[in-house]
């Protein structure tokens, strides 16, 4: 690790001011991505701004029909929350599938979506449910928040404060884990919302999480497995790497979408 300064503000305003004024600052949440990167010396921030002592960032509460979950809510907290299990069970299940227990006890919702790893799980839930990302400055719909591989609409001194998840009529999530890292090699979040069906795919797209429009249309017409049985996903924008070719992943996406649908129908 290279040397860095460490700041632990106790208010959101203070954190935003630090991000604006310090030289090369970096937000620290659960540290599950950031700390390994620093240990490998693959980044050299001037300061870390630790969000863990800012009150009110990790709550889970009802908001209208849906839920508001704070940016610092740990994966384990979401997975075991009775409120999440009641209102959006698929979201609790998804959080319980992330990494291993150590990662789930430290990793946070805000850190996961700010990082926008193309193989992470939460981006699929946000996009699949049509969630709104609340920052210290504005509220963005998920479709506008995730802008590409490891990229989001967040500005340099902008923080994720929490996420508003609308409640689906039915929803399910399924992923094919990479057996070593447990990140998704393909993951699908299928949700039947008041205004239509949404299908968000992670783990597979070259530009990160994306919506599978053909599957959405087919399922909107008829929400059952037969509707998408004949579909194939175009593999031209699908990742190809040592773990699997684009064609293989495209096929996995379809299988995961079917499984997510079956989970939603359960």
């Amino acid at each position: 690790m290279y040397a860095f300064d460490y700041q632990r503000p106790s208010a959101l305003d203070e954190a935003v001011a630090l991000l604006r004024d310090l030289d090369e600052p970096k937000v620290l949440a659960g540290g599950q991505t950031l700390l390994p990167t620093l240990k490998q010396r693959l980044a050299q921030p001037g300061s870390l701004v630790d969000l863990s002592r800012i009150p009110g960032l990790s709550g889970i509460e009802r908001r209208g029909e849906g839920l508001f979950i704070g940016a610092m809510a740990r994966h384990a907290q979401v997975a075991t929350s009775p409120l999440v299990q009641e209102v959006i069970p698929a979201l609790a299940e998804l959080a319980g599938m992330i990494g291993d227990p150590a990662v789930r006890n430290r990793g946070t919702l805000g850190g996961s979506i700010a990082n926008n790893d193309p193989t992470a799980d939460y981006p699929a839930a946000c996009l699949g449910l049509g969630a709104s990302i609340v920052t210290n400055a504005r509220t963005l719909v998920a479709d506008d928040f995730f802008t590409g591989l490891f990229e989001t609409a967040l500005g340099e001194d902008e923080l994720v404060v929490g996420v508003e998840f609308p409640a689906p009529a039915r929803a399910g999530y399924a992923k094919f884990r990479n057996p070593a890292s447990r990140y998704a090699m393909a993951g699908a979040f299928v949700a039947q919302m008041a205004d239509g069906v949404r299908v968000a795919i992670t783990g597979a797209g070259q530009g990160g999480v994306f919506r599978w429009a053909e599957a959405e249309e087919a399922l909107h017409a008829d929400f059952r497995p037969e509707s998408i049985a004949e579909l194939t996903l175009d593999a031209s924008d699908i990742m190809s790497d040592l773990h699997g070719s684009a064609d293989y992943r495209a096929q996995l996406v379809k299988v995961m979408t079917l499984r997510a649908l079956v989970a939603a129908l359960r």
Binding site: L42, A43, L149, Q206, D241
Partner: protein, 151 residues
């Protein structure tokens, strides 16, 4: 690990203009994503400092950009090679071809990239996408620079 990419862009200028821009260090500097310095060492070689940001990773590469295989004003090769210190190395190149079209010029590129060291170990699942993104961004920036008349 090695990767291959390709793409094409429409440029609203003549082939001669596009060719000039491809050989202009100032324009290349503005178009190479994360390029902080690009200094001419000769007509075909430039010293470069490029900062690459992929998610949490931020690495500074020092190296050279070389132009070769000239076939004016139709095609050339642009290649780059950089040492990111502890992060590892990256190198890549692209064969760039220009053909006149009805609306100006069509640019077609075929690029390949290679990385090694820690970046490669860490990044199997991210490197393929990133290399493609960097190549796309470079040619997109280039198309915009040429279109806006900066060239």
């Amino acid at each position: 690990m090695a990767l291959e990419m390709s793409g094409s862009y429409e440029l609203p200028v003549t082939r001669e203009k596009a060719w000039e821009a491809l050989n202009d260090a100032e324009i290349l500097k503005r178009c190479i994503p994360g390029c902080e310095e690009l200094e001419k060492a000769s007509d075909t070689e430039m010293k470069a400092v490029v900062v690459s940001k992929i998610g949490p990773v931020k690495a500074k590469f020092r190296g050279t950009v070389t132009l070769s295989d000239f076939n004016a004003p139709e095609s050339y090769r642009i290649s780059g090679e950089g040492d990111g210190g502890i992060a590892g190395f990256a190198k890549g190149g692209a064969l760039v071809e220009l053909t006149s079209s009805e609306t100006g010029t069509t640019l077609v590129y075929k690029a390949e990239a290679q990385i090694g060291g820690k970046l490669a170990q860490l990044g199997q699942r991210l490197v393929a996408g990133t290399a493609k993104k960097i190549a796309d961004e470079f040619f997109k920036n280039f198309a915009e620079a040429v279109a806006s008349g900066d060239a």
